[in-house]
């Protein structure tokens, strides 16, 4: 009995991988088409956003602040935040937008969220690598001090963003008001995302509150991975991990409930 359960699990797993793969290709062709650079557009937006902000910050605030390069600091903040904002906005109404595909039983609603999110993550990573390589060439970006820590930070950041998407996607199907609130909420949370500053620049009292935010913890990890000894970072990887698990559990329950009432044209 146990072995049949396991083989069923393996079979289901293989099907889901195939479905997610097909959904990603479908998503890329519908969003970017096959003309000119095609799917490479996925990194265009984070690239432009982070690149332009880096230039503006560099011109307005000078070459460095607290001993770290302005352009590099802007990039290290804006790429993750773009991932978060895009991930969240792509999750809104993801189920109804893809509703007609639910005619195929092997496609589950979670696959929609996963496929869209993987695309955003790939786009963000490609943009990051691209822009960092250019900046490293111009000596505006350091060679990462601890790439492992950076990747760990990025992964945790992605994990937490993904678990939020798991909540937002079903909620946006439950109430239309949710849809209106998402852009405002993502904007208001910007100061708590660790985008503009390091925890070490704050007074201990404020820092304590800032470190309650899972985003700040993950951001500090990424920046510590890039700058190493040049900066002091404060983080606890367990904060974002535990928050992700809680959020994902809530999200999965919501997804399950929404699927039961989803009506498909």
């Amino acid at each position: 009995m146990a072995s049949t359960g396991l083989s069923r699990l393996r079979k289901g797993w293989a099907i889901q991988i195939r479905v997610i793969h097909a959904l990603m290709i479908r998503e890329l062709t519908t969003r970017f088409g096959r003309e000119n650079i095609g799917f490479l557009w996925i990194m265009a937006e984070p690239l432009l956003f982070a690149g332009l902000v880096a230039i503006v910050w560099r011109l307005m605030k000078g070459t460095s602040e607290h001993g770290i390069g302005m352009a590099a600091f802007a990039v290290s903040g804006y790429i993750p935040i773009t991932l978060f904002r895009h991930g969240v906005s792509r999750s809104v109404a993801a189920f109804t937008a893809n509703g007609s595909l639910l005619y195929h039983r092997q496609i589950k609603i979670l696959d929609f969220i996963i496929a869209r999110f993987i695309i955003e993550v790939l786009g963000g990573m490609m943009a990051y690598i691209f822009i960092a390589s250019i900046l490293i060439f111009f000596k505006e970006f350091p060679i990462p001090d601890d790439i492992g820590l950076f990747i760990a930070g990025w992964s945790i950041y992605c994990l937490f963003t993904f678990s939020l998407c798991l909540i937002i996607a079903p909620l946006s199907e439950m109430s239309e008001a949710m849809e209106k609130f998402v852009p405002v909420t993502t904007y208001i949370m910007l100061p708590f995302s660790g985008l503009f500053l390091m925890a070490s620049w704050l007074t201990p009292k404020v820092r304590e509150y800032m470190l309650l935010s899972p985003f700040v913890n993950a951001m500090e990890m990424m920046r510590k991975g890039i700058w190493g000894d040049q900066i002091t970072a404060y983080y606890d990887p367990w904060n974002p991990i535990v928050c992700s698990i809680v959020a994902a559990a809530i999200g999965l329950v919501l997804c399950r409930r929404v699927r039961r009432t989803l009506s498909i044209q």
Binding site: R18, A22, I25, S100, H104, R105, R260, S263, I264
Partner: protein, 215 residues
């Protein structure tokens, strides 16, 4: 075998609740050709969607012991912004079939020619029906769920469908929602009338059609 056990389906729109299906029990054996009869809005499409797993019942359970197609109808199953070929490729991927085989069959069956390179949203309902039928026939299901679609095509399409579905695959199971007494008498061996959310089964198709016309 497909078993529907105590199926209820209620739709909620704001504070409005509408019970479409109320405690439906239905067993479809292998090889059965079941006609679903009912007036517009009686719940035929809803029942087909529940059997196909597109929507979930509010309560009750659907058990499928064979490969059941997706509901073949006017809507659903396709991404409008993608071309016919892209949709075929997508379906080949998720059903793990060889794309070139599916493409050949679709080209041959649909006779859509260059239209297959244009987005599905530009297709007429007849053209969509051709594509849906072609893809589901290429994948080969044990049971086909057909939602009213059979009558939309032209003569040529009807003839092809007839041959592929009712002659070549006459051993397959079929659940067919239709308003046409002629089609039902010709093709089905059982009938279910859905009225006021309840289902009544008939083993005599002629009797069922008679009851239905008097509703």
């Amino acid at each position: 075998m497909i078993i529907c056990r105590n199926i209820c389906k209620t739709y909620k729109h704001g504070s409005n609740r509408k019970q479409v299906l109320n405690n439906i029990n239905l067993v479809v054996e292998r090889g059965d050709r079941v006609a679903l009869l009912g007036r517009n809005g009686a719940g035929k499409s809803t029942l087909i969607k529940l059997i196909g797993g597109v929507e979930m019942p509010t309560s009750g359970k659907v058990v499928r012991n064979m490969a059941v197609s997706w509901p073949l109808g006017f809507a659903g199953g396709f991404q409008g912004s993608l071309t016919g070929y892209d949709n075929a490729r997508f379906i080949a991927r998720i059903y793990q079939r060889d794309y070139s085989e599916i493409r050949d069959f679709v080209e041959d069956f649909t006779e859509l020619g260059k239209q297959l390179k244009t987005p599905v949203k530009t297709y007429s309902s007849g053209m969509r029906a051709r594509l849906a039928f072609a893809l589901s026939l290429a994948i080969e299901f044990d049971c086909y769920l057909i939602d009213e679609i059979i009558l939309v095509g032209d003569q040529n399409f009807n003839r092809k469908c007839h041959y592929e579905l009712f002659e070549k695959r006459r051993d397959r199971t079929m659940i067919l929602a239709s308003h046409s007494p002629h089609v039902i008498r010709q093709l089905c061996n059982r009938a279910v009338i859905i009225h006021n959310g309840e289902a009544s089964e008939y083993n005599d198709v002629n009797l069922a059609v008679e009851k239905y016309t008097n509703l």
